[in-house]
Each structure stands twice: as structure tokens, then as C-alpha cells.
């Protein structure tokens, strides 16, 4: 098994937005999907996970709606709002930029400078 990765502060929200952007999900489903996409390499603390969801909903980036889950249980499904879509786009761009810059710096060798 590959080594688990710890998330930097503030990235959990971004991942939740991404997970929800792929289709409406209930809370536990979001958690499962993130773990699944990451190849089970992310260890997410369940406590901070709900705090993140509540905050996103309060900021109007995702929207919750009661529905029925795959095994006929009542569950709250979250989907991305318009503001959420914009936010995800901006965050993604920011993240890729930053990652590229940081990676570029780290990849430099002494003779290249």
C-alpha cells in the first residue's frame, strides 16, 4: 500500500467542491469519493470533514437537498451552486499555478540558475 498523504490546510474544501462537481452526493458519499479518487491515499478526519461541508454550504458554494440514497435511506445530497462552480474553477487554476511554480523551483539544478 502506498503511503497516506496529509492534506495542507484549506485544501479539503477544494476537494469537496471537486467531488460534488461530478454529481450530487451525500456527506458520506463525498468522503468515499475523495478517498476513491485519491487511490485511498488520503486520510480525512471525519470531524473536520463535516465542519468543512457546513462552512461550504453556509458560504453558498454547495447546496443540500434531502433525497433517497442507493440503499433507500433518507440522506442529504449536496450539489454545486453557480458560485461553487466559479470558486472551484478559480481554486483549481490557483492550485495548478502554484504547484507548477513550486515544482519548477524544486526541479531546478545548480547549473540551470
Amino acid at each position: 500500500m502506498t503511503k497516506p498523504v496529509e492534506l495542507p490546510q484549506g485544501t479539503l474544501e477544494m476537494l469537496i467542491l471537486k467531488a460534488v462537481s461530478l454529481g450530487p452526493l451525500h456527506g458520506y458519499g463525498i468522503l468515499l469519493r475523495i478517498q476513491q479518487i485519491s487511490g485511498e491515499r488520503l486520510e480525512i478526519l471525519q470531524g473536520s470533514f463535516y465542519t468543512a461541508i457546513y462552512r461550504l454550504e453556509h458560504q453558498g458554494l454547495i447546496k443540500g437537498k434531502w433525497g433517497e440514497s442507493e440503499n433507500n435511506r433518507r440522506a442529504r445530497f449536496y450539489s454545486l451552486t453557480a458560485a461553487g462552480t466559479r470558486q472551484l474553477k478559480a481554486e483549481t487554476a490557483k492550485w495548478t499555478d502554484m504547484a507548477a511554480v513550486v515544482a519548477g523551483i524544486l526541479a531546478k539544478k545548480a547549473d540551470e540558475i
Partner: protein
């Protein structure tokens, strides 16, 4: 939308999801996770346990939710507030004392602020009130007495065209009577130029105000009613518009009612407002009838306006030189100025007094909190031991203090509504009639801010002090009280400060009361007790027949004498005298120029001229010093004789041979066709008598030289009867009215000019101000004293309760009870003593300033008396609770351990 629904909606906006909603979602997650675990082969019981460990309690999830949306601080604060309220309920004695101490201070401060707001910051309801000016001219020889000048119609129109003038208002007053009813009723009418509606910019309560069209055809017969008159006369009937009101036998249409806040008036609030164009149709109105007010254009400075208007007024002076002194200049006065000078000082002083009271109240609360804090150490130690930060504890203690402050503020604001009216009741003439005391937004904001400030002010010191204990030292057990508690510097400082400020207030009150008492003992020179003045306007002006009946001087005299005789027959009446409008002390007479024989005509000194009958001196008990008074025949003739007061004789005549000298008053003639004068009114008169000085320029001001002449020499269409009765004169008023009616059934009485001379003294500006100071500062200092004593009392009783065991042991070991008493009260006594010393020092520093502001001397004797009183009561409030220290039985004391 109802208020409840609004709150619910607001709440929903802050907290969109409900408790059960959050919990249900969480449960569904919990179950899904649990099922996953079971699917992975974990036994059911184990899976449930694991899921709970990983996710937490469903019940606690709502808290996580509220945390996440940023309500944590809010939740904690509301918890603190609830806790604070519970703590207050658990300890009602403490709560009552603390809340009341603050309620007194906050209530009094809010009251003063609302008074200042109403009187100085926002006294007039008029649009652009700060641009409205009262033009006066200043006689350069008497610069502190601004003089008003009425204008003629054409002068008024000139003023309207002047560059800096936005619009002028012209007005004049008149005694009117409502006729057509069973009895005529005297009212005070104000004639206003017809631009009044736009000039004042006050929306009428009903109907409309005067409009320029009301001036057409010599003025429409319309009338606008004052609110109080409308309430009094029409019982607040809202269907009054369009009805007729008969004034002076002529019908007027009621077109509007002004709101309560509008009380414009000249020498009294107007009952009715009428178009000024009607004035020319009226009989007893002098030619110069427009008293002007000027509203300046925006952004015009006072200096520029003065400069622009001066030449115009110079021109007026050329037209009417007799109305202007030799050297004068024009000054525009903002309309607040007459009230600002004295009232502003009065209010500032009172505000200083209540702020002191508030500080004393705050100090009291600090002392109480500190004292109570000793019993809370244990609780706070536990809180900090289980992880509360110091800031968290300070915050909780502060919130508790603010809860006390806010409770106090609620009570205080409720009380302030009533308190703020007190100065208005005690000194009505010092304040504008239109200042309306009410609790409005700025005042509420002020008191809320004040409450928060106080809460933080008095809560901070105890909070910092109490939160400092480290839990390790505090927790192992309660303090064993046989060790004397460490000295409590903070308490001592607070007690000393409280006592010092109390002494300052008490000394101020002492000074105020003393100078008021001195004022009441100033000899007036006349006896105001049981004398009443009754004003009678003689205006039958609208009925030409009636007017011609009393137009000739002889007929008028006969009419007045007839009424005087009828009043004299009323049971209980001992003396009746006659005077013209200005015969009522302590302000009496009209300044006029005069000449004395043997001096040049150029030299024109001034004296107060009083037109009275020979009975005036007996009615007021003014003594005859030299010579004689005039007799009935001389009174009827009016000419050739005069009586002067002692001040006149010493200043203008060598007093030894005043009798037989001659004087004349050139300006003493009929001014218009409604005044009648005797044949030689302005001619030389022989001085036949000198009477004692009676106050004529205010209760505390020096007596001005005065000349008394028979009232028949120049007669206005108005007389006053001064009636001395055996008992309270007002009880005879009804029979006196009947006596007047028996002479002429339609003769009205002017209510505004009917009052007792004692009332006139009480209305005197200095008298009423001194009375206001002595009553209010008396009340303030009594409150402050009570607060300081409560502070000392609670300090001593708490410390005695804390140290019961110590005192028990001391007594058991044979300490004399005097010594134990001294130990128990030492700190309080020493700090009270220090406070008194500090207070004495402060008094000598502030004394001079205070004395200047109160316009009375700061008395060392009242300071000493206050210090002694304070010391004695402080001693008493120490000893009362300390008594318990020596009654402790050692066995019982040790059982506490």
C-alpha cells in the same frame, strides 16, 4: 409582519438549518459508515462503537455546525449572559444593590443628557433653526442688555430684500378674547406674517399653516391653533378644521392645529396664530408692529450678515430716532442665545454632578464585585483548572458586569423620563417652551453606550484581579482564615475615591443650599405674601360703541376705580391697588429718560417709571420714608407730582432735601391713539415723597432708581390690580372675578397676567436657578452618600464574614473586643479617612471654579459640615457590620473549618 415573525426570519437567516436537520444527516452518515464496516466483516457491536469513535456524538453535531458557521463567540457570550443572570438571581441582595447603584447613576446621567439634547442641541422644531436670528441692537452704554426693535410694514419689506436674508418672519402679540360663549375667555394671540408656514417648516398636526394667500384682501379671517389651546378649549377634537371660532366678536375659520412641539410665542406661548395683515384692522396695535426674526441664507456667516444689515437698520434709526440710543450697533443673535448662557451653565453643572454620581455608583459595583469575588474564587479556580484561559474568565466576569450594567440601564432609562422633567418643573422660565423631553434614538444609544462603558469600567478591575489566581494554589482546599487576609489595596483606593467624590458633591450641595437660603433672606423691600396681581385688558376695541365709552381718560379712570371698589368689597380682601402693565415686582417699571431741576437738558439719566395709584405702597407694604403720598384728587389729575424711591434720592438728589425738587420725563406722552395722557404728563413734577427701596430688577440685583407716578397720567388699554388678601389670594380669585363681572359682564381677565407675587419671586431667574441647584444637588449628594455608605457597609460585612474564624481565634486568645473591632474596620476606616482628606483637597481646588459657575460663594462652613456628616456616617456604616466580629463565639467560628 409581526415582530415575532421578523425575529424568526432574521434568526433563520443567521442559522439556516435546524437542530434535527443536522442531527438526522449525521445519523444517516453514521449508519452508512457502520454498514460499510459490517460489510468489511467487523461484528455489528464493534462496528457501532468504531463509527461513534470516528464520528462523534450525533447530539453534539449541532454545536459543530454552529461553530462552522461562525456562531461560537455568540454562543459563548449568550452562555455567559445566561450565567450572569442566573448568578444575579441566586444572589438577590447583591444584585439589588449593584443594579440600583448603577440605575441611579445611569438614570440621572441619561436624564441630564436628554435635557441637554432637548434644550441645547435640539431645542426648536423649526426648519433650519440654526439659521434663524433674532436681530437686536446693543446699546454701547449697557452692552449686556440687548434691545429688540419692532418694524413697520415697509421696513419689514426692506429687510426681506436684504442680501443675506433667506426669509424674515414678522410677529406681534395681542390679548384677545373668545366671545360668543357664556363668559369671555382671555387668550394670547400671535400675529404672524403669512409666510409663517414655510418659515417654520413645521408640519401642522391637522389642516394647514398660514399661507401667503391668507394676506389677500387685507387678510383672511383664519386662525391656526396651538396644540395645548386646542386640547384645553376643544378637548382635542380632530374634526375642528373648518369650524368657526369667535374672537373679539368676529368669526374666524379654524384652518389648522399645530403639533405639540410647536409653541412659538412672544412673552408667553401663543394660543392662536393669526395672519399679520389683520393687525391693521385692529384697534390697539401700535404703528410699529413687526418684531422680526430673520432666517439667513445657508453658509452666510454672522459677521457678514451683521455687516450687510447694519446700514438698513441705521436707516430705520433715522426714521425713529426716539427708539434708539446714541451709540449702538446691530447684532444678530441665534434664537438659542437667550437660553444658552445661563441654561447651558446650569446644565453643565448638573451634568458634572450626575457624572460624579455615576462614577460613585460604578466604584460601588466594583467594590461589590471584588467582595463577592472572594466567594467565587473556588469556582473560578475550577474553571481555569479544566482549561479556561484567563481571557475567557475575564470575558465571563466582564459579561456579568455588563449584565448588571444593562439591567441598571433599563431601570435608569425608565426613571430618566421622569427625572429629566424635574428641572423643567423647578425652573420653567430657564428653558425654551418648545423643548420636549422624550426618549428618542440618540438618547437610547447614549444610555446603551453608557451602560456598556460602565460595565467594562467597573467590571474590569475585579475581573483582572479575580482571574489572576493560579489554580494550583487555590484548589487544594479553602483558605484557612486564621491568617489575616493580605491588605486589599484596590478596595481601599475605591472606597477612598468614592468618599472623596461624595464629599465633593456634598460640599457643592451645601453651597447651593446655603446660597439659596441667603437668597430667600435678602430683604425684598416689599411683602409678596398674600398679594396677587390680576391683569385686565381694556379692549372693547371691536365694538366702537364700547370703545368710545372708555376711550376718554376720565371715563377710563372711572371704570378702573369702579372695578377697584368692587374688588375691595370682596370678603377677605384687605387692600386693592392699581398699576399699569409693569407694576409687579421683582421686575417692575419701564426705563425712561428724565431731567432733574438744576441740571442741563443734555444730561439725560434713566430711571424706572412706575405708574400706580396711591394705594400701591400700602398693598405691597413699601414704607414711606419722607414727605407724603399723593391723595385721591392728585391721583385723578395725574400731573405735577411724583414719588421716588430711596435709590433715586441718594443717586440723583442729595437725599436730605429731596422733597420739593422737580423732575420731568420728556417721553411720558401718549404713543398711539389707544393710550391717553393727562394734560401735562411730560411737564415738571414736584417730588412730594420718598419711599423705601423695593426690588425692581430681580431678586438678587441692586435696586434701580425708580419714579412712581399716578397711573392716570398715561393710560394704556391694560391695567393690573394688586390685591392683598387675608389668606391665600388665589382662593378669593373666583369672588374677585364675580366682582369684576358685576361692573362689566364681558370684562375679561388675562390669565397670563394673573399670579401671586410669591410666584413672581419664584419665577425669578436667579431664584429658580438657585432653588434648582439646591434641590438637585441635595438629591445627588444624598444618593452619593447612600452609595458610599453601602459600599463601605458591604466591604466591611464581607470581610467580617470571610474572617469569622480569625476573629473567633483572636477572641478565644483573649483579644479585647475593641481591638477586634479595629482589626475588622481598619481598612475601611483608613480609606474613608483618606477619602475625606482627598475630598477636602479637591474641594479647595474645584471650589473656586464651582463658585464662579454657580454664581455664589463656595462656603468653607458647609464644606466642614459635609465632612463631619460624612465621617460620622462612614464610621456608623463600618461599625454596624463590624459588630458581628465581636459577637463571634470561638467554638462556632472554628466549626466552620
Amino acid at each position: 409582519m409581526s415582530l415575532l415573525a421578523a425575529i424568526r426570519k432574521l434568526w433563520h437567516a443567521i442559522v439556516p438549518r435546524t437542530h434535527s436537520d443536522v442531527e438526522e444527516e449525521f445519523r444517516s452518515t453514521l449508519e452508512a459508515y457502520q454498514e460499510d464496516l459490517i460489510r468489511q466483516g467487523v461484528p455489528e457491536e464493534e462496528a457501532r462503537r468504531k463509527a461513534r469513535i470516528a464520528l462523534g456524538q450525533p447530539a453534539a453535531q449541532f454545536e459543530t455546525y454552529r461553530d462552522a458557521i461562525g456562531l461560537r463567540l455568540f454562543d459563548e457570550l449568550s452562555g455567559d449572559i445566561r450565567y450572569g443572570l442566573r448568578a444575579l438571581r441566586r444572589n438577590p441582595g447583591f444584585a439589588a444593590v449593584a443594579v440600583l447603584s448603577l440605575a441611579l447613576g445611569i438614570g440621572a446621567t441619561t436624564a441630564m443628557f436628554s435635557l441637554i439634547y432637548a434644550v441645547l442641541l435640539h431645542p426648536f422644531p423649526y426648519a433650519g433653526a440654526n439659521r434663524i436670528m433674532n436681530p437686536v441692537f446693543i446699546d454701547e452704554q449697557h452692552p449686556d442688555e440687548p434691545l429688540y426693535f419692532p418694524l413697520s410694514k415697509s421696513q419689514f419689506d426692506d429687510l426681506r430684500l436684504a442680501a443675506p436674508v433667506d426669509s424674515p418672519l414678522g410677529f406681534d402679540n395681542a390679548h384677545l378674547e373668545i366671545t360668543g360663549g357664556a363668559l369671555p375667555e382671555g387668550i394670547w394671540g400671535i400675529y404672524l406674517t403669512e409666510n409663517a408656514g414655510t418659515f417654520f417648516g413645521v408640519r401642522p398636526l391637522l389642516g394647514r399653516n398660514l399661507e401667503p394667500t391668507d394676506a389677500e384682501n387685507g387678510g383672511h379671517s383664519v386662525v391656526v391653533l396651538n396644540y395645548r389651546f386646542w386640547q384645553r378649549h376643544f378637548g382635542g377634537d380632530r374634526h375642528i378644521i373648518g369650524r368657526m371660532l369667535e374672537i373679539d366678536h368676529a368669526p374666524y375659520t379654524i384652518i389648522g392645529v399645530m403639533p405639540r412641539s410647536f409653541a412659538f410665542g412672544v412673552q408667553g406661548v401663543g394660543d392662536v396664530y393669526l395672519p399679520a395683515s389683520l393687525m391693521r384692522g385692529l384697534a390697539n396695535v401700535p404703528y410699529l408692529a413687526y418684531i422680526p426674526w430673520i432666517k439667513l441664507r445657508p453658509h452666510v456667516t454672522l459677521a457678514a450678515a451683521n455687516a450687510a444689515l447694519e446700514p438698513i437698520v441705521r436707516q430705520f434709526a433715522k426714521e425713529h430716532p426716539e427708539r434708539f440710543p446714541d451709540h449702538w450697533h446691530l447684532a444678530l443673535q441665534p434664537i438659542i442665545v437667550p437660553f444658552q448662557q445661563n441654561t447651558g451653565r446650569t446644565l453643565t453643572l448638573l451634568l458634572a454632578g450626575v457624572v460624579l454620581l455615576l462614577i460613585i455608583g460604578c466604584a460601588n459595583c466594583s467594590i461589590l464585585l471584588l467582595a463577592r469575588g472572594r466567594t467565587r474564587r473556588h469556582e473560578l479556580a475550577i474553571r481555569s483548572a479544566i482549561g479556561a484561559s484567563r481571557w475567557r474568565i475575564v470575558r465571563q466576569l466582564l459579561v456579568e458586569a455588563v449584565v448588571i450594567a444593562c439591567t441598571g440601564a433599563v431601570l435608569g432609562v425608565a426613571a430618566s423620563y421622569w427625572l429629566a422633567k424635574l428641572p423643567l418643573l423647578l425652573s420653567p422660565d430657564s428653558f425654551p417652551a418648545e423643548s420636549l423631553i422624550r426618549i428618542n434614538a440618540p438618547i437610547l444609544a447614549f444610555s446603551v453606550a453608557l451602560a456598556l462603558l460602565c460595565g467594562i469600567l467597573f467590571g474590569l478591575l475585579p475581573a483582572l484581579r479575580l482571574s489572576r489566581h493560579d489554580s494550583a494554589r487555590m484548589l487544594p482546599g479553602r483558605e484557612i482564615g486564621v491568617v489575616a487576609a493580605p491588605p486589599k489595596h484596590r478596595w481601599s483606593v475605591l472606597i477612598a475615591a468614592q468618599v472623596a467624590l461624595t464629599l465633593l458633591l456634598m460640599a457643592t450641595a451645601g453651597t447651593a443650599i446655603r446660597s439659596f437660603l441667603q437668597l430667600t433672606q435678602i430683604p425684598l423691600g416689599y411683602d409678596p405674601a398674600n398679594v396677587m396681581t390680576i391683569g385686565i385688558p381694556l379692549h372693547h376695541a371691536h365694538d366702537p360703541g364700547e370703545w368710545s365709552r372708555i376711550q376718554p381718560r376720565e371715563a377710563r379712570t372711572a371704570y378702573i376705580e369702579q372695578i377697584r371698589e368692587k374688588i375691595a368689597f370682596v370678603p377677605g380682601v384687605s387692600t386693592v391697588a392699581v398699576g399699569d402693565t409693569d407694576a409687579t415686582p421683582p421686575y417692575s417699571g419701564v426705563e425712561k429718560y428724565f431731567n432733574v431741576d438744576g441740571t442741563g437738558d443734555r444730561e439725560q439719566p434713566q430711571a424706572r417709571v412706575m405708574l400706580v395709584d396711591q394705594g400701591y405702597f400700602a398693598a405691597l407694604r413699601i414704607h414711606l420714608l419722607q414727605g407724603r403720598l399723593w391723595n385721591t384728587d392728585e391721583n385723578t389729575r395725574g400731573d405735577f407730582i411724583a414719588v421716588v424711591n430711596h435709590a433715586f434720592a441718594t443717586r440723583y438728589l442729595s437725599s436730605s432735601n429731596a422733597l420739593g425738587r422737580q423732575l420731568r420725563i420728556p417721553g411720558l406722552t401718549s404713543r398711539n391713539r389707544y393710550q391717553v395722557a393727562s394734560a401735562h404728563s411730560a411737564a415738571w413734577r414736584q417730588i412730594i415723597g420718598v419711599v423705601g427701596d423695593a426690588r425692581n430688577d430681580g431678586v438678587d440685583r441692586p435696586i434701580v432708581p425708580a419714579i412712581y407716578l399716578p397711573y392716570t397720567t398715561v393710560m394704556s388699554p391694560f391695567v393690573e390690580f394688586l390685591v392683598r388678601t387675608q389668606g391665600d389670594p388665589l382662593t378669593s380669585l373666583r369672588s374677585i372675578r364675580a366682582a369684576i363681572a358685576s361692573v362689566a359682564s364681558d370684562q375679561q381677565i388675562s390669565n397670563a397676567d394673573t399670579f401671586t407675587l410669591s410666584e413672581a419671586v419664584e419665577r425669578d431667574a436667579q431664584y429658580s436657578r438657585q432653588r434648582l441647584f439646591s434641590i438637585l444637588f441635595g438629591v445627588f449628594s444624598a444618593m452619593a452618600l447612600a452609595l458610599a455608605l453601602v459600599g463601605i457597609f458591604s466591604l466591611v460585612s464581607y470581610s467580617v464574614a470571610q474572617r469569622t474564624a480569625e476573629f473567633g481565634v483572636r477572641l478565644a486568645l483573649g483579644a479585647p473586643s475593641v481591638h477586634v473591632l479595629w482589626v475588622a474596620t481598619r481598612i475601611a476606616l483608613v480609606s474613608a479617612g483618606a477619602g475625606i482628606v482627598m475630598g477636602l483637597a479637591m474641594d479647595s481646588f474645584f471650589g473656586a471654579i464651582l463658585a464662579h459657575w454657580m454664581q455664589s460663594a463656595f462656603a468653607a462652613r458647609s464644606l466642614f459640615a459635609a465632612a463631619v456628616l460624612l465621617a460620622l456616617s462612614a464610621l456608623l456604616s463600618c461599625l454596624l457590620p463590624a459588630r458581628h466580629a465581636i459577637t463571634v463565639s470561638p467554638a462556632e467560628a472554628l466549626r466552620y473549618e
